[in-house]
Amino acid sequence: MPTVTFPDGFTLYESRAICKYLATKYSIPLLPPSSDAEATASFDEAQSVEMLYFAEPVTKIAFEKFVKKFKGLPPDEKVVTDSLQALETYFDAAENLLQKRSYMAGESFTLVDIYYIPLMQRLFAVGSGELITSHKAVNAWYDRCVSRPAIQKVLAADKEAAAAAGGKK
């Protein structure tokens, strides 16, 4: 999950591939112009960095502290510690980068910034938000991302849905 299925049977899975396809198909301005080779290369670079150095350790922490909790299993503290250490190193590098540019792939908000948002939220949810707030430029970038009206609307709806689901339990 997720998957998208079109009436003609075309089906796609893998969230980043889906996002890129939808942005292209519906002209959502979240990708660099394909004619701009340098901007496209910077986008691809930022996407690889997000996947390898950010998403991987956050996913491990989320699994240990979030998923395992629901399964009634204790977290593997070594995995958590190692992943937090990897993230600290990553955020130090991101801090340097974001002192020089406004968004992860350059001066424009792109899909790469969107890729970060749900896992950044997960970091706060598992009590590791200080990793973000302790890095001034990273924190300012994150604020810029989640202050966007469309992003705010989705996050507010999710928060409301989670509160309603929690109330039903």
Binding site: M1, P2, F6, C19, Y26, L30, I117, A150, I151, V154
Partner: protein, 71 residues
């Protein structure tokens, strides 16, 4: 009929990425189907994925392999 169907989970960060992308484009012409992970609905989805996506691709590649093998 909506432009497409998005299957996901309300707690999935991967699904959230796609929804945020569509929201940025103010794109609402799609059907969002949330699967309940606790009821194992994603397993039905996974089975459907194997049947519709992987098996045909496997059969296709196997046929290519077989024809090369026999030549």
């Amino acid at each position: 009929m909506p432009a497409f169907v998005l299957h996901g989970s309300p707690t999935s960060t991967n699904t959230a990425r796609v929804r945020l992308t569509l929201a940025e484009g103010n794109f609402t012409d799609y059907e969002l189907v949330f699967l309940n992970l606790y009821k194992g609905e994603q397993k039905v989805s996974r089975r459907s994925f194997v049947q519709t996506m992987l098996l045909p691709k496997f059969k296709e590649s196997h046929m290519v392999w077989s024809s090369k093998d026999s030549s």
